[in-house]
């Protein structure tokens, strides 16, 4: 990677991060979905004291994965079409900086910025657990849990939310994504649900962004949502990252092709 190219990647990452972080919608949407999370589930202060630290951390991680990825996906969906809507794309296309680096910088920068409030919420819960349970190891464990169980799913969601609006109108994507998330992961999650309709869903598979496989397989959380081996945990992480990369690659190839035919 040349010096010019790497500076384009770093510059695009920094400025996309900065622009996303300055959006009021980022903080408002994250706040709303966090409030919704607390309304339907529990904060770390509400778990029974008989639970193990690892269990509390796993449930806390899982609860944040209930609704927060919806906000995450919605907030990232407009990042790519925004250049066109602001009419900045014409100038950007005339610049020598590699479009691939710019595209990657946009993904990394916007994703990191959108991740930040979610990470801070997660961290606040972990710190609470560490203090409440007088367990110093809760901090590294909580961070590791975030990295292994939350992050791959969020990167997967981010990749699709950046990529899909290349071919889908942003509000339609946001509607479909939100609908799918509630439909496939929460409202109609099993035959026991009165609203159950057998629909294709990633829920329960290794590709579920909720991170159950990594939490159970890699951290050995007892009595959790499901049982999984370490191999299944690693496979889940690998698949989520690989499918995310594939989505980004497809979107980038499509954009390159579209530009070449203008």
């Amino acid at each position: 990677m040349s010096k010019v190219t790497s500076s384009v990647l770093i510059g695009a990452t920094l400025y996309e991060f900065r622009m996303q972080l300055r959006r009021k919608a980022l903080w408002i949407a994250t706040g709303i979905f966090f409030a919704l999370t607390l309304f339907v589930s529990q904060g770390p202060w509400q778990f029974p004291s008989s639970m193990l630290v690892i269990q509390i951390l796993a449930f806390w991680t899982q609860e944040l994965q209930t609704f927060m990825p919806v906000a995450f996906g919605i907030l990232l969906a407009d990042r790519l079409p925004r250049d066109r809507l602001l009419r900045a794309d014409e100038l950007l296309d005339s610049l020598p900086g590699s479009p691939s680096e710019r595209f990657l910088g946009k993904y990394i920068g916007a994703t990191l910025a959108t991740l930040l409030p979610l990470f801070l919420i997660h961290l606040a819960g972990v710190v609470y657990v560490a203090v409440d349970q007088a367990s110093a190891e809760a901090i590294p464990l909580g961070l590791a849990m975030f990295a292994a169980a939350s992050l791959p799913g969020l990167l997967f969601v981010a990749a699709f939310s950046i990529s899909c609006p290349v071919v889908i109108w942003v509000p339609l994507y946001q509607f479909l994504f939100t609908g799918y998330w509630f439909w496939g992961n929460w409202l109609l999650q099993g035959p026991q649900s009165p609203l159950y309709i057998p629909v294709p869903t990633l829920s329960g598979t290794l590709l579920t962004p909720a991170g159950y496989y990594a939490a159970t397989g890699l951290f050995g959380v007892p009595d959790f949502v499901l049982r999984a081996t370490a191999w299944e945990g690693l496979s889940s992480i690998g698949l989520l990252v690989a499918f995310g990369v594939a989505a980004l690659d497809a979107a980038h190839r499509y954009l390159t092709w579209r530009k070449s035919t203008r």
Partner: protein, 294 residues
């Protein structure tokens, strides 16, 4: 840096022909591209800026063949482009926006880039509002940010599309002077439908209409084409009729003075006037329309 365009055509969607066999040789210095709205100027600018690909024909800039990816990349490093409709990132300040564009233009050295940004903020007189977010900028201020970004990499080829749109008269004059100063040892391609912009800056020019080049040559040549066709007429009645195009109207109290281009009827008392570039342009367009009718 010489720009050579040969047989350039652009067809959108297989049906809409925006450019048709355009041949141009643009030497170093200021070069004006005039034409009415929809003439194909912006399409030509976008092709020269590497945003659009031509349907056919070739572009060579500074000897580099722009039909290859490597050729375009090399040209883009020496290019400054101000689009007609420049979009800015609203959440960034002017300084941040210029810094970001500087990075994308390959100005990797942070210290040098920041020095250049400050220098250009001063040139476009935005240094006092450099920290303010762009969403609070007026149209003229946004235009000046656009001008500054085009100059960041000290381009050898500067392409400016309708650059004075949205600027007040003083800003227009400052900007035209700036372009003329820059044109000393580089190529500045100024596309506009405002004849005055070209008249004040460009010795060489081309006129584009309907995707075709109607005229290429010097401003003096275009003016000369209208010699003997420009008149003033002072009457107290309605506008003079006949085969005339009124280019200006001046109310003088009891009468009205018209400046007209064309061939006045014998009964009309007229006085021949020295033609301006605008008259030359109007005459050319009249000729084209007449040719189209016949």
């Amino acid at each position: 840096m010489e720009v050579v365009v040969e047989g350039l055509s652009k067809v959108y969607g297989g049906r809409v022909r925006a450019l048709s066999g355009v041949d141009l040789e643009i030497p170093t210095g200021m070069y004006g591209l005039l034409g009415p709205n929809g003439a194909g100027k912006t399409t030509l600018m976008r092709i020269l800026a590497g945003i659009l690909r031509p349907t056919s024909g070739s572009v060579h800039i500074g000897g580099l063949d722009c039909s290859t990816e490597s050729g375009w990349t090399a040209v883009k490093r020496t290019l400054g482009y101000l689009p007609q409709d420049l979009g800015l990132y609203q959440d960034l300040s002017a300084r941040e926006f210029l810094d970001y564009i500087g990075i994308l233009k390959g100005l990797g050295d942070k210290k040098e880039r920041r020095r250049r940004v400050e220098e250009l903020l001063e040139v476009v007189r935005l240094e006092d509002v450099a920290k303010r977010k762009l969403k609070g900028f007026s149209g003229g201020m946004r235009r000046r940010v656009g001008i500054a970004q085009a100059l960041l990499n000290d381009p050898r080829l500067l392409i400016v599309d309708e650059p004075t749109a949205g600027l007040d008269p003083e800003e227009c004059i400052r900007f035209r002077n700036l372009l003329s100063d820059l044109a000393g040892d580089r190529t500045v391609l100024l596309s506009t439908h405002i004849v005055e912009d070209v008249a004040q800056t460009s010795r060489n020019l081309a006129v584009l209409a309907g995707g075709e080049v109607l005229f290429r040559g010097t401003a003096a040549g275009l003016i000369e084409g209208a010699r003997g066709k420009v008149f003033t007429v002072e009457i107290d009645g309605p506008k003079p009729d006949g085969n005339l195009t009124v280019v200006s109207t001046l109310h003088l109290g009891s009468s009205v003075q018209y400046r007209v281009v064309g061939e006045p009827p014998p009964h009309l008392e007229v006085e021949e006037a020295p033609p301006s570039l605008e008259d030359g342009y109007v005459w050319l367009m009249r000729e084209r329309r007449t040719a189209g009718v016949t």
